[in-house]
């Protein structure tokens, strides 16, 4: 077991793995218990897709315009930006003024990108 635990070079992450197993066991146990004790019947129109009491017209797996994909693209840019800023923020007390100016330039470039996306209408829902 010693060798198994020393596999983790970072301290504290063995607990992460252990808790992942426990957290995953919760829904699995719940679903298995449900399967074992719940009644089962497939009669009638029980398995019909719900569409406000009507017979469903067509499926939902069709091609249609997802209006959110531009948001998703902008999200990726800013999410990566945030990840880059985390180490900067943690070490900021040791970096001083120069790091502040560098981060200012970095954020300014992204603000220009945000302004561009805004002007282009990427942030409009309609």
């Amino acid at each position: 077991m010693k060798s198994g635990l020393s596999m983790f070079s970072l301290p504290g992450y063995d607990a992460f793995l252990g808790f992942l197993l426990i957290a995953a066991a919760v829904p699995i146990l719940a679903l298995v218990t449900n399967k074992l004790i719940s009644p089962r019947s497939r009669e009638g129109e029980r398995e019909l897709t719900y569409e406000s009491g009507m017979e469903p017209i067509g499926g939902a797996w069709i091609q249609f315009n997802i209006r959110y994909y531009m948001f998703a693209l902008v999200f990726v840019i800013f999410d990566v930006e945030t990840v880059f800023l985390y180490p900067w923020a943690v070490a900021f007390n040791r970096l001083g003024l120069l790091a502040f100016i560098e981060a200012l330039i970095f954020i300014a470039i992204l603000v220009v990108a945000l302004a561009y996306a805004w002007r282009k209408g990427a942030l409009e829902w309609s």
Binding site: A23, L31, N34, T49, N93
Partner: protein
């Protein structure tokens, strides 16, 4: 008093800072002749099961509070027959959902349909890894700390999208897409406002973040130095939890129940559980990041000198340790109470208003907040964590 102090030092192991249950557990097992390795291994699952139980009890209490407070807001009585004041009602609900039939629609994708709720619930439970209730009272003080929560919370939209798509139902699909769009829109202001707190604490560790807020009691809480960040964080947390006024993914007047439409029985219960665990977790994290976590409103040093005890006296350590847990939970439940009241006082926003608020208001403001924090930290290093 002497015997009590002896008990406290020998069995609870509070020689170090705060309650250290781990070393006392390991020590007491070693006294039974087990090896240190073995004792540590036996310890490992205990805090996890304890936190998991705490989370579940927290959900039961929150569900009961939600029903009671909602009832009071509408001048109803609410649940009252299951146990005194209806406290057993959430248990009865859970039991009912456990024995209900599991219906998978004939046209749905069975595997993704079942995997969706699991993928929503597991990351939310896993985030409890970093919630501290005291100096050493957390499962693991991992190096990435609060960042772990931010990365885990990005897994949730995948589960929502998955269950919305797998249902093969138009309401579910629209609800799932809305949920994903909402989640990603509010994640960036959320991460940026956490970033400002991290900058003031010089650390990602949740324990460090709380420690830096407990120099002068109430006055040194982050909420005074980060008022804008606090408001942004709270709004984003409500949006991430899909609480009113941001509950568009399951807006019942338009989308029946959004991505949950086709779900019944235990799988619906997993969504329900997930959203309430997320609410309690978020409230706990607000209290950790901005409201001093387990800290008292009055500095502990004053209390110790008032009781004329040295600060590291076992009795003081025991009292601060256990009252610290109460303080964390109390602050979190005040925020839960606020969230429930908000549910009955604010109307639901439209999807375009929601996205505008996230992208055109909260994102620029949180960027400015971050830069202002950095500038203030350069100007006044002492007040902003050195």
């Amino acid at each position: 008093m002497m015997t009590f102090t002896f008990f406290a030092t020998s069995y609870l192991g509070i020689a170090g800072p705060g309650l250290d249950l781990k070393s006392s557990f390991v020590d007491s097992l070693q006294s039974f002749g087990l090896s240190t390795e073995m004792a540590r291994l036996l310890w490992l699952p205990l805090p996890m099961l304890l936190v998991l139980t705490a989370a579940m009890v927290g959900v039961l209490v929150t569900v009961w509070l939600e029903r009671k407070i909602s009832a009071a807001a509408q001048q109803r009585i609410g649940p009252e027959f299951a146990g005194a004041l209806g406290v057993l009602q959430p248990m009865a609900d859970g039991l009912k959902l456990l024995v209900k039939e599991d219906v998978i629609p004939a046209r749905a994708d069975g595997l993704l349909f079942s995997l969706g709720p699991v993928l929503v619930l597991v990351p939310v439970i896993l985030s409890w890894l970093i919630v501290p209730f005291g100096q050493t009272l957390l499962i693991s003080n991992v190096g990435v700390g609060i960042f772990l929560w931010i990365s885990l919370s990005s897994i949730q939209p995948i589960g929502l999208l998955m269950s919305g798509y797998a249902s093969n139902n138009k309401y579910s699909l629209l609800g799932g897409l809305r949920a994903a769009a909402q989640s990603i829109s509010y994640e960036i202001p959320l991460a940026l406002s956490v970033l400002a707190v991290v900058m003031m604490s010089n650390s990602l560790s949740t324990v460090e973040i709380v420690n830096l807020q407990n120099d002068a009691g109430l006055l040194s809480w982050n909420v005074w130095r980060q008022p804008v960040g606090f408001v942004i964080f709270w709004i984003c947390v409500l949006a991430e939890c899909e609480r009113l006024p941001f509950d568009l993914p399951e807006a019942e007047e338009e989308l029946v129940a959004g991505y949950q439409t086709e779900y019944a029985g235990m799988k619906f219960a997993l969504f329900y559980l997930g959203s309430y665990i997320n609410l309690v977790l978020s409230a706990l994290l607000v209290s950790v990041l901005y409201l001093g976590g387990w800290g008292f409103p009055i500095p502990v040093e004053w209390l110790a000198s008032w009781l004329s005890q040295p600060i590291d006296a076992p009795l003081i350590q025991l009292v601060t340790g256990s009252v610290g847990i109460v303080m964390t939970v109390l602050k979190a439940y005040l925020l839960v109470f606020l969230a429930i009241l908000l549910r009955w006082t604010t109307p639901r926003v439209r999807i375009d208003q929601l996205l505008d608020l996230g992208w055109k208001f909260l994102l620029p403001i949180s960027l400015v907040n971050l830069l202002v924090t950095a500038a203030l930290k350069l100007l006044f290093p002492l007040a902003f964590g050195g």
